[in-house]
Structures are given as C-alpha cells and as structure tokens.
C-alpha cells in the first residue's frame, strides 16, 4: 500500500502525489495546467475519481488565481460506443 508521495491520485493515468507536486513546483498554477503536465484527469473516468483530491492538492500547494476554472466537464457523461453516436439516416 502506497501513501505519502507515491499515493495514486489519478487511477486512470496512474499519476501519484509526487508528480502533481512536481508539476506545481515547476510552475503549474491551476488544475488544468496540472492536467496538461501530468495527464491526471485525462483517462476514461475523465476526472470523476481524482478531481476532488486534485483540487485539494492544487489549492493547498499552488494558490491558483481567483476564478481559475477547475477541470472542465465535457460530453459524454460516460463512455459511449461510437456506433451509437452516428447520424440518423
């Protein structure tokens, strides 16, 4: 069982606390910037599991600017096979 810096934050992309903190130390100030630097939040669950913990880590460590957006929520609300998305005939 890992804890501390090797604790998994984003299960989908297997991003650990240490990587998030490294990204912040390298200059990332918002969740979106941390995501771009680490891939956290980019996997199949699209941040559903890691968003809260990421928000907490980034808020504590990076002091994001006021009004900075969090991870954006986009369609689809859960994965959908492509065949179900085609235009109606």
């Amino acid at each position: 069982m890992s804890d501390g810096p090797e604790l998994i934050v984003c299960r989908c992309e297997e991003v650990v606390v240490r990587e998030v903190l490294d990204a912040v130390r390298a200059g990332c100030r918002t969740l979106q910037e941390v995501k771009m630097a680490t891939r956290a939040g980019m996997g199949p669950c699209q941040g559903r599991v890691c968003r809260t913990l990421l928000e907490r880590l980034v808020t504590l460590e990076a002091a994001p600017p006021e009004g900075a957006a969090g991870l954006t929520k986009r369609l689809p609300v859960h994965p959908v096979p492509l065949g179900q998305l085609v235009e109606e005939e």
Partner: protein
Amino acid sequence: MSEPRRLTLLKLGPDAGPEAALAAAAAYDELEAAFAGSVRSSARSGRGRLVVVGGGIVGLMSAYFASVRGYRVRLVERLSPGGAASGRNGGGVLVLGHTLDDVPFNRLSLRLWAELARAGVASELTVSGHVMLAFSEQEAETLRGAGELYLAAGLPVEWLDSSEVRRLLPHVTAEQRGGLRCPVDAQAYPFRAVSSLLSRLRDGRAELITHTRVTGFRVEGSRVRAVITEAGDVEADAVLLCAGPWSAEVGAMLGLPLAISPRRSQILVTERVATRVVHPFVTGNSIYLRQTHAGNLMYGGGGTWESQSFDTSSTTTAIARLTTRFLEVFPAFRGVQLIRAFAGTVDLTPDARPLLGRADGWENVCVAAGFSGHGFGWSAAAGAIAAACVARALGHEEPAAGVSRLLEPLAPCRHAPAARPQVRGG
C-alpha cells in the same frame, strides 16, 4: 454514405501549377538557408527586451527562438499557457495538404520541430507519415494530380492504390479508392510540447507572466515602450503579438486592424485502443484523425458550418457528424468508446494565410497569428521567423532578400491598411 466525400484538408487551388511548385521548392531552399539551425545559439543576433503577448504554442515557440538569439524575453499570458487551441488540436505537423505558398514554410516547420526534439524539447514527435484518402475516382484523380505538384515542390509523396492503403491501414473501409501518402509528415502531443517548452523557458530563458491580462501599451511616437498589464507595466524594446484569435482585440489597443476572426473546431477522443491500429496521420472524408502515443483515437474537423465565435462547447450535431464520418473510414471501430468531446478556437484570416511580420505604423511591433487551423504545425517556423522579425525591427539583422520577398504576402496589416495608429493604454 449519403454525402459526397470531401478533401477538406487539401488546400491546393485549381490554379496551382508546375511553375508555382518549382517556386515553392526554391522558396524552401531560401528558408532553410536562413532558418535551419535556429535552435542553436549560433543564431544569436542581439540584445534587447522582447515582450511576447500570448502564451500559446506560437508565443512559446517565438519566446524560445528569441531567447536563443539572446533577447531577454518576457511572455504575458492572459490565462494558462497552451490552454486554448494549443492544447485542443489534432497534433499534426503536416506539409501535405497545404497550398504551394505554404508548403515551404511548413517544410521548414517540420524541420525545426525535429531540431527542437534533438535539442531536448520533448513533444512525442513521431514521423509517422500522413495519408490523405480518396473515396471516389474523382478524388483519386485530384490527389494524383496534387501529388505531381507536391513532388515538384520538393515534398516527397507517393500514390497508394487501395490495396496498398489497406496494407498500411488494415482496418480501413473497403470503400476507399487509394490515397496520397507523405512519409515525412509528423504528429506530436500538444500537451507535452507545451510542457516541454515551458520547462525550457522557465529554465532561465524567459520570464513567464501568466494569468495576467494585457490592457494596453505605453508608446512614444511610433515605438512601443511597455506592455501595460493588470500586474503593472512590462518594459519592452520590442513587442510580438501572438494572441491567436484574440489578436484582433490586442491589435486594436495599438490601432492595428488585424483581420482575424474566431471559429470553433471540435475534436473527439476515444478510449485507448489495444494495439497500434492507425500509424500515420489520416485525412479525408472531411475529417482528420490519428492514434495518439497513448493509444487513444482522436478525430475532428471544422468548417464553415461551425460557430464563428469563441464558443468551445461540444455539440451533439458535430459529435454525430464527425463520428459518422470517422466510422465511414474505419467501420471496424464502431465498438470503441468515446470518452471525451472538446473544442478549440481557430484564428482565421480572410486568405487563410497567417499574419507574420512587422506591423504597419510601429517600429518595434511584430505579429505572428492567424494560422487558420494549422497553428500547431506552423508554430516552429512561425517562432523562428517571428524572432527574426524582432531582430530586424531592432536593427540587429537584415534578412536575405529572398526571405523578405517570401514574407511580403504575410504582412500582418495587408487586409486593411492601418490608419494612423491610435493607441489605447496608459
């Protein structure tokens, strides 16, 4: 398949001909002579404070090349660096498909992207090649003709018949009629490219001022003396505007009519797919698509049907349309799952050619914007050329006559001659 196929990413006009192709080959030789090796510090040209407005891939590349030249660079970005179109594009670094006028610049860009990779700017750059597919005999004929011109322009391309396409793309539809392949086109991972450039810049090459809005300029006659931001003034010997679709707004602060307008372009991403099922970048059937280094498939395609605004929401119409087109190319992928839909804002110009050069009426203002949906691929060349424009504006370097001639059609204010500059700021 109800609609006619469309080669929307083949920009060659009907008036493109052998003479223009040869001119394009010669143009590349000029650009290569002037800009190859821009990554090395032997490109030093002078000293001075450059302020780059805009932290997208073009601003970041420009900051990088300017720092190599020895300028003290400060970059001001309104929100997150690389957070707009630079993080929401297809990742193509392509030459095939461009007009003959743009071919030499994009060949240069491809070369500089590779130089950057060798210099340690990681971007997952992969020279995977690019295939543009035909879905009718007419499209096949169009592509074969285009292939002749691209070859004469110095771009290696080859025609693949449908069985050769099938060997390259095992899951492709049986309805394809062959394709034009360019083996030197590449693809990269936008987030990684941005992160890597940021890390290089932060390592003593530039000062990055992010989450800070530019509100005006302090000027003296026809020189800009400082960029005014929410966080104070940033002194400048030269200014470079790289604000993508926001360039018109920033230009207006200097009385510059930059003819740039926004348009949305949507992209869809699937779950990771087990194996490498698509190796090259693929275009055709009105879409572009690739498989990322991580294994996800991504596909997209904009057009005049899209919202001419800064709106970046995804629409069910586009999801249905783009997915239908994607599955027409790869019917075998109908069981693969879509995990995300997103969009970015493209910066369009009236002639779909960028604004790249010095701004009219100002001695020390340059512009690099308006890449009309091809900014990511263009960015390395744009950055190197923009840095050279800055050097010229500061009187440190005169570009070769041939290069100046090639840049004339890209003059930033060509669409609307600037009236006497009126300045907002101070």
